[in-house]
Symmetry: C2
Subunit: 211 residues, 2 copies
Amino acid sequence: MSALDINIKVTPEMLHWGRRPTFEMVEEIKNGYPSDVSRWLIGAHTGTHVDAPSHFVEGGTTVDEIALDNVVGPARVLDLRHVEEEITPADLQQAGIGDAKRVLFKTRNSTDALTRAEKSPTWVGLGPEAAQWLADNGVLFAANDYMTIEAPANTEKWPTHVILCGAGIVILENANLADVEPGDYMMVCQPVPFEGREAAPAPTVLLPLAY
Amino acid sequence: MSALDINIKVTPEMLHWGRRPTFEMVEEIKNGYPSDVSRWLIGAHTGTHVDAPSHFVEGGTTVDEIALDNVVGPARVLDLRHVEEEITPADLQQAGIGDAKRVLFKTRNSTDALTRAEKSPTWVGLGPEAAQWLADNGVLFAANDYMTIEAPANTEKWPTHVILCGAGIVILENANLADVEPGDYMMVCQPVPFEGREAAPAPTVLLPLAY
């Protein structure tokens, strides 16, 4: 069995939307302590992370309340490397979304914008029409390979987030799909259960589809 | 397929060894922002978390470098609810550890010490002789159900941590096994990849053993 880790590393130098994470060493072996112990200041949206519905819906499901069915189960990686900026419903259909309930969008971000330490002027996101298609078709989980699933033109009113969060669809952002072949996998995505909050780092692996 | 979540929630009121996590709201819907956004100050050892070998071994494997084989694969939950304070090699054998490579110790902690918001005066940990047995038998991963895998009497010199970290065995602490039947599972444990550091929150699920 070979598992694929699709997570980006969390480091003070990493790609970030607003502020980078920082850490301090509380104890260090090299200073005579028995062990290394670190403490971290991180955004809930740091690295490969989940947005829960409550990110955009007041009173919505929080990250510690997400049903395992949303984030654990068969998932389909769609090849959307040809898309320029905004994924449309036609793109989803042509890439073979079919009746998949958990979907990950492999775009050129994984080998381009996601690899840079500074925010890119452009990237590929999910358009609101495609978000509505996911909501209308009972999708439970949607992932893309940049800091936001929103397309660049829509980051003032966030319509894709409003639609996805409103429909209870869990969002994964900053998934690194560079080394993942499009196709079907068993996915395990696990947000850190920050009680009552809107998002959390959510390490994710893809396993051979055997369930 | 039913998955079991064995994680404890991360909250400012939680059980802690030294300092509890805190968070601040950066943006809030109720204050007119489009979304909720939070930021967290957490120890690397907060909640259900992994200790990498570098926790006790200077230059050892860090949490972002852990091989997937250590934390993803078949795992055995051992019933050790009768143990009073320190798990011995005989306890491991009697509980049926056999040739399991990833093991989780279900003790009375899960329904006792782990359920309290304040540190308990006593709990069940893994004794150093049992740690050495794991090292001698090629075990890759060991989990217990309290803030530390160390037995209470050994938390000055940390011999169990020294042995496990020295042998490259990944440690999971604060696993909540109260609702988990002893037996074999497919485990997926995923530390947040804090680059170069000794530990990280590591949400973990147990799935039916189908691999």
